[in-house]
Symmetry: C2
Subunit: 333 residues, 2 copies
């Protein structure tokens, strides 16, 4: 049973539409609470990060992945609750220090939690945010045929960073160290360091989420955590639409030097863009007559179409069905 | 570093009183949210329950321990969020089924969550409740000298149930099976079965919490999860008071047959009462001229006194300092 199958089974067991609606997005809005929005996300050793990663980074990353969920709802983060499992002998202070520093930066209050021993370091964060009075709720089910499809940032770079970590890159004292064995030429060293940093410390797009939510032409939004094609298919399924993705636009939405570094490392740049995952940028749709504010440097990567098919259009005009590749959290790790 | 030391370190790093206040209780009240109250609690395989326990029971117990935290705040539960870690190959459906059934019984909506693979079954639940308009907030810091100290139920029985599980008792198809090796006489079999059930499926005292919160003479409240003496010492520390506990009253607050079964199993009944833990009943204080409603069958077990000493008074009038025994979640498991 994979993650989407489990969610499907769970939805069939729920009795009311309201209950099912809560499970549609990564966030849930609490009725009658003054537009409070809640999300939960975990970082588990050996699944989301390799054993031995600086626990400060684990703490910062834990907040970042939750903030990214809130960004896709257009809310402002307010309170966090940490449930921690600690292997015996591991000092919990660096993780708390990293989390608290990140909380301060984003004006989030660590308001409670629970701590237990456990077989591996695992942290689950519940983040509660608040939507501005009158602001529209962003969700996955508002894409309409004719909407333009936008990416809030680049895709694939985080997966490239993960690949570099698997090949010996390390985060030490706040800097990325690359192993000599990689023997990258100097121009690629910069791109490699940036990819590792992007993977470990993603920058959630909260300001973009709030800006989209304030626009009258706003459609659907999702944060890309499990891979572009998988998350796009979720957005399309919840909205009951299809999508056309332009291959060249997706390539344009890659960081400088990305394709060259991928080919040096014998990685398929398209596979990373489409299914690498952990990008933590927003994928969203807007009515054709609106556009996201220019300062966010979003890229238009396609269009929402009628039906249920999701396909990619290459430069030569060939269509190819886009299968939902990417991470499944039950099959992974 | 134990749990209380970690909490102390954490409080020293927090900058505002509001932040430190949030960490005082197991629940936090969200300002400006219409009296929403939040709590987080975990169930980790090998720590809170033995491997192989029916996952339906794990799901029910997970909700119960969180409900007990909310009970101590006087709130009504509304929404739950589940973060789950699943070992490969384990079917997640029984846990969800148990959790969902318990949610329905308590009118709680499972509104979201996250699922990941992991080395052991571990579940963290965030529970959000709502306080009735105008109802007082129950918390740990409102005990005053002269208050009477009450127990909402019995203590020690859950720990006795845990001891029986360690000696081979099993929960199968909704019933407790005791191993033949125990060779308990028939009158003790009932007490043993009840203890195992009490341990696995505690009954959180939500109605009692709400009733106390509505009384003008309400003082401090805490739910007993880590042991009577440890949780009493937390309540006293937060309130800046001491306490006198009457040994005979504590014995009276034991279920029928408890002491006999303990002695049969060569367990010290006093040690279980004082430090067995996982009782999930409320310990609370009230002004001397009030009392909890009779239908809850609470037991008065002592009095709040000036100073910081917590002592036990036996039938012969001897005083003995009560050390905070019980579970520490970082040293346990």
């Amino acid at each position: 049973m994979n993650e989407d199958e489990l969610l499907g089974w769970l939805k069939r067991r729920l009795r009311t539409k309201k209950e099912r609606d809560h499970l549609r997005d990564d966030t849930a809005t609490l009725e009658g609470s003054g537009a409070l929005v809640v999300t939960v996300d975990q970082q588990v050793e050996g699944v989301h990060f390799a054993p031995g990663l600086d626990a400060r980074v684990v703490g910062r990353r834990l907040l970042a992945v939750n903030l990214s969920d809130l960004a896709a709802s257009g809310a402002t983060p307010r309170w966090a609750f940490l449930a921690l499992q600690l292997p015996r002998g591991l000092d919990p202070k660096p993780l708390y220090a990293g989390l608290l520093a990140a909380c301060r930066r984003h004006r989030v209050m660590l308001a409670g939690g629970d701590v237990s021993s456990g077989p591996a370091l695992a942290a689950s964060l519940t983040l509660i945010g608040q939507r501005a009075p009158g602001a529209a709720a962003l969700s996955r089910d508002r894409a309409r045929p004719g909407h333009a499809l936008y990416l809030g940032g680049t895709v694939g770079e985080s997966a490239l960073g993960r690949a570099l970590l698997e090949r010996g890159a390390r985060w030490t004292s706040g800097a990325v160290r690359l192993p000599r064995s990689l023997a990258l030429p100097p121009p690629m060293v910069l791109a490699a360091r940036r990819a590792v940093k992007r993977h470990l410390l993603p920058e959630p797009q909260l300001a973009l989420g709030r800006a989209i939510a304030a626009l009258p032409g706003a459609g659907a939004a999702i944060d890309l955590s499990d891979g572009f094609s998988r998350d796009l298919s979720r957005l399309c399924r919840e909205s009951g639409v299809g999508a056309r993705v332009e291959a060249t636009a997706l390539v344009r939405a890659s960081p400088p030097g990305f394709d060259a570094l991928c080919s040096r490392l014998r990685l398929d740049p398209d596979a990373l863009r489409l299914g690498g995952g952990e990008d933590y940028v927003l994928l969203f749709t807007m009515a054709a007559n609106t556009a996201p504010p220019g300062r966010f440097r979003c890229t238009k990567v396609g269009e929402i179409v009628r039906g249920h098919r999701i396909f990619r259009l290459d430069a030569a005009g060939r269509r190819e069905t886009l299968a939902p590749a990417g991470w499944d959290h039950l099959l992974r790790g």
